[in-house]
């Protein structure tokens, strides 16, 4: 759904912002910086939707941060 189809889109809505918004490395979703969540284990960013999804599966980020000290 394009932005022009919705009246007064809130600033926090997904896909909003501008070219200066962030892109989630996990799902390629567009989100504004203020909503960014960082992985507690590896400090990489993710969008607020992925933050919930990943937490629900008990995995921090892309299954790479399983816990313990990193293996790069």
């Amino acid at each position: 759904m394009s932005r022009s189809q919705r009246e007064s889109v809130p600033w926090w809505a997904p896909g909003e912002g501008s070219p200066e918004s962030e892109t989630c490395p996990h799902c390629l979703g567009v989100y504004v910086y203020e909503l960014e969540v960082r992985c507690v284990d590896c400090d990489r960013p993710m969008c607020p939707v992925c933050a919930v999804a990943l937490r629900r599966t008990e995995v921090r980020l892309c299954g790479e941060c399983g816990g313990g000290e990193a293996d790069g």
């Binding site: 607020p48 939707v49 790069g72």
Partner: protein, 296 residues
């Protein structure tokens, strides 16, 4: 309550090898935002669908692509993208050392602390502190490149007190300097106005003390959430009384100067709850700030 290291690496340049551990230096204090479904108030999940058919394509089956022109896509296979990734490595390679002024803070993206990786070998801890001291004495920052979790980084290796920090840097082209833009123009500014403005600025001069500032708003958001959780409403804070509009810039400057001078004699009465002290008061009260901080 030690933090856990994000990564382990080895600083390398010339014959120097210093094993280190990387830690996040930023504490994320944002109140966690959630996108909810209006009906169920549950946090939403997302899925990718073919807009024409409505069929879902699971994330594991999707491909990435580049929109070359409107409606034309170049599909990138997973294997092709894999091949672009850097080789895994534990090296933090320093390519050069430059004066700190060379890397303006606008290039700084995210800071990390480095700590010694004492477990890796004998003397690693002393080498770490020796390197931090050497960098501080030479007053230099190293340009560092490293690869962490299949992503390449470039950063600045800098001394911070007795320790070392690695700050990731933005990429070329990402910083718009003021020099790339033309300043707004207009009629020449009147000399008296410039003079008054300078005086006003002088009256407001102070040192930068980061401990003076707290995120009050965050506390109010948490209170609001707690109140809503209990089904209560919060009283809205009183709106600030409207300011009298001065007639001209010159009059505004004059009146401001007068006010600022009065402020030097007595604590300024500000309309907003003042966590900041009036600029001219001599006793800098740090104690209340510490208390506020422990609350947040």
């Amino acid at each position: 309550m030690a933090a856990r290291a994000i990564w382990k690496g080895v600083i390398r340049f010339d014959a120097v090898e210093v094993p280190v551990k990387l830690y996040a230096a930023v504490e994320d204090r944002n109140v966690q935002f959630r996108l909810l479904d209006e009906e169920s108030r549950a946090p939403v999940r997302q899925r990718m669908v073919n807009p024409a058919t409505g069929d879902e394509v699971p994330f594991t089956e999707t491909k990435k692509g580049y929109e070359a022109e409107r409606g034309t896509f170049v599909v990138l296979e997973d294997e092709e993208l894999e091949e672009l990734r850097p080789e895994p490595s534990r090296d933090i390679e320093i390519t050069r050392f430059v004066p700190p002024a060379e890397i303006d803070h606008r290039w700084y993206e995210r800071p990390y602390y480095l700590g010694p990786d004492a477990a890796s070998e004998q003397g690693a801890e002393r080498d770490y502190f020796a390197l931090a001291e050497a960098l501080a004495r030479k007053d230099r920052e190293g340009v560092a490149r490293w690869t962490m979790r299949q992503k390449e980084y470039v950063g600045a290796l800098r001394p911070e007190g007795d320790y070392l920090m690695l700050v990731t840097l933005r990429h070329a082209g990402e910083v718009i300097p003021a020099s790339a833009l033309e300043a707004p123009g207009g009629r020449a500014l009147a000399a008296e106005e410039v003079e008054m403005a300078e005086k006003l600025l002088s009256a407001l001069e102070d040192d930068f003390d980061p401990s003076r500032y707290q995120d009050d708003y965050r506390g109010r958001v948490l209170e609001l959430i707690a109140a809503m959780a209990k089904g209560r409403k919060l009283a809205a804070p009183a709106a600030a009384p409207p300011k009298a509009e001065p007639e001209s810039l010159a009059k505004a400057l004059e009146a401001s100067l007068a006010q600022a001078r009065k402020g030097k004699k007595a604590p300024a009465t500000k309309k907003a709850p003042a966590k900041k002290k009036a600029p001219a008061t001599k006793a800098k009260k740090k104690a209340p700030s510490a208390k506020e901080r422990s609350r947040g």
